[in-house]
């Protein structure tokens, strides 16, 4: 459980909030690069950390992320004209460059210099790994550019997608570090999903429903190890890194590509669930990409023209009670992503953690909250910048490995937990 004031602190990320200040210490994914596919393409509305913004790509290919609303009369610049190195408000022709600087006010004499006095709030927006990242904090504290491994491999080695999720970021993120639910909620997919099935690791998963856990602090966050019984007294370990504030990488399965997530607050009652898949040593196959496009693995199908999953709360997530009864799915909802999202959204927009009853196997979640609270407090009281900004903290990997019983995962799998160019993930 968390006290109400702790829950409020962790779940509120708007401007001026403690956790909002902390999120504004990081580069966060803002939108897919494919959403701004060419120079002078239509702008895209982006809501992040309870701020309404507008992303656009100007005539020179420069990315801008600026206040959505024109400084003149407050209309949305989403209706604007993206032309000649700027975004022009269609109401009275005010024009802004990619930094939010007003560069033209047609009704005022150019000589007056009036437009120089007008500037919209803006944030840097850079492309890495098919994702446009933004940093929304003080310029003086801007961290190095993001160094996540999935973003550094060749484009045909990775797949990145996002979907909207209709709940607070924290309850979505906590699902990502809760290893013990996999053997239940996702048990059907371990046998049937083309991006999961057919690995030895799945047999260990399904054969031992009471894993033992170890939680170890890392410089950037945590490693959460789940061990299950394997042959000859050995243990099958699934090791999940969590890097502050909201990055996780799921342990790989066999030769399947490895995947993971970011959970980024849209506002306090909605978040973006970012998902990535990648393989270091070879490209994703056409069949894998096709399966991801089709909503398999950790991906979903969308309501056309939106990032909202086709199975959503308005249609009860297309729950199929017959499939649930037959054991094809455990909850009746199809697909790993929506199995998670449906349950997390069912908690309500912001779950009341004063009512929960955690057990000892929830220590990964408890430790993550502890670290977030500790870092947020240190930032608020002493100005100490939080972990997870350092590129070294970001060069982490998940791993799945069978180890002798007397070997701790943190040591035995030490090399497997660090990103290494040209070396495949350690997987079973």
């Amino acid at each position: 459980m968390l006290r109400k004031e702790q829950n409020d602190l962790l779940t509120q990320t708007g401007p001026g909030t403690t956790m909002g200040r902390m999120f504004r210490c990081y580069w966060v994914p803002a939108l897919l690069a494919s959403e701004l596919p060419e120079n002078e393409c239509p702008p895209v509305r982006v809501k992040l950390l309870s701020e309404r913004l507008l992303a656009f790509r100007d005539s020179q290919g420069r990315y801008g992320l600026i206040d959505e609303f024109c400084a003149h009369r407050g209309v949305s610049l989403w209706f604007g004209r993206n032309e000649e190195n700027g975004l022009r408000c269609p109401y009275h022709g005010w024009k802004y460059d990619h930094t939010g600087q007003c560069i033209e006010v047609p009704s005022e004499p150019v000589e007056s210099g009036f437009c120089k006095k007008i500037k919209l709030k803006s944030y840097p927006l850079i492309e890495r790994g098919g994702v446009l990242w933004t940093y929304m904090g003080p310029p003086a504290e801007q961290p190095p550019l993001p160094e996540w491994e999935f973003a550094s491999v060749p484009a045909n080695h990775r797949y990145v997608a996002k979907r909207s999720q209709e709940c607070n970021w924290l309850q979505a993120m906590e699902g990502g570090i809760d290893s013990s639910h996999v053997s239940f909620l996702h048990s059907g997919e371990l046998n049937h999903d083309p991006l999961f099935k057919g690995t030895k690791g799945n047999q260990y998963n399904l054969g031992d429903l009471k894993p033992h856990f170890e939680v170890v602090e890392s410089p950037g966050g945590l490693y959460i190890g789940a061990r299950r019984n394997a042959e000859k007294g050995g243990y099958y370990w699934r090791i999940t890194p969590w890097v502050m504030p909201s990055f996780t990488m799921i342990p790989p399965r066999g030769d399947h590509s490895v995947h993971g997530h970011f959970w980024i607050p849209v506002d306090d009652e909605n978040c973006w669930a970012w998902s990535y898949d990648y393989r270091v040593t070879k490209p994703l196959s056409a069949a894998e990409v096709q399966a991801m496009d089709a909503g398999k693995g950790v991906y979903v199908n969308f309501v056309p023209g939106s990032w909202r999953p086709a199975a959503n709360k308005d249609n009860d997530y297309l729950v199929d009670r017959a499939a649930q009864k037959a054991g094809r799915t455990y909850s009746g909802v199809a697909g790993i992503a929506m199995q998670d999202a449906s349950l997390q959204e069912s908690m309500g927009p912001i779950v009341d953690r004063a009512k929960e009853n955690l057990v000892s196997t929830d220590n990964g979640i408890i430790m993550a909250r502890h670290r977030l609270l500790r870092a947020a407090k240190a930032l608020a009281e002493k100005g100490t910048l939080p972990p997870g900004r350092d590129p070294e903290h970001q060069r982490v990997r998940s791993a799945a490995v069978v180890l002798p019983a007397d070997q701790p995962f943190k040591d035995a799998a030490k090399d497997a937990l660090v990103a290494r160019a040209g070396v495949a993930h350690t997987s079973v």
Binding site: H212, P349, I366, H370
Partner: protein, 168 residues
């Protein structure tokens, strides 16, 4: 007509969630396995708890012979006032046993406590506090066979947060 899920998951509907206790207090037995941990546990015991009991097994290492027979099951587990306690009775009354060890210290008392928990089907969580990675691993290795959950924490503050989260 909105679906049941759409209606039920709104913030407005959250007002109608039943506001009644959904659990009974859990009895958590917290055991310090060594002298430095005992100091930590004594500080912890001064905080307000519902059903947490605090003990020390720090005399285990001095009581237990280095090898061979002759070890007595009695006398090495005590409450923080120094009163000897019966391990089996205490474990039987607990919903969860939390063993607290300091990195680099002898944590062999975990073996007896762990076996008692297995006998009584009580979950065990082991916490290793501070110290270097090498020292922490030596201690973790002693705890691992007897802990359902093992946590290596940099700060002793974590214990209080964990016990609060578990409604101790």
């Amino acid at each position: 007509m909105p679906s049941e899920s759409a209606r039920a998951t709104t913030a407005a509907e959250a007002r109608f969630r039943i506001d009644a206790p959904n659990s009974q207090p859990r009895c958590v037995m917290v055991v310090a396995l060594d002298r430095p941990s005992e100091t930590v546990v004594k500080r912890l015991a001064k905080l307000p708890w519902s059903r947490a009991g605090f003990f020390t097994a720090s005399s285990f290492a001095s009581t237990r012979p280095q090898s061979g027979a002759g070890f007595s099951m009695q006398g090495w587990l005590s409450d923080l006032a120094g009163r000897t306690k019966d391990l089996i009775d205490e474990v039987a009354a607990a919903d969860l046993v939390v063993m607290v060890a300091s990195a680099g210290e002898d944590a062999q008392a975990a073996s007896l406590i762990g076996e008692a928990c297995q006998l009584r089907h009580v979950m065990t969580t082991a916490l290793v506090l501070g110290g270097s990675q090498t020292a922490g691993e030596a201690t973790s290795a002693q705890l691992r066979p007897f802990a359902d959950m093992l946590v290596v924490a940099a700060s002793e503050d974590y214990i209080a947060d964990m016990l609060t989260a578990l409604r101790a």
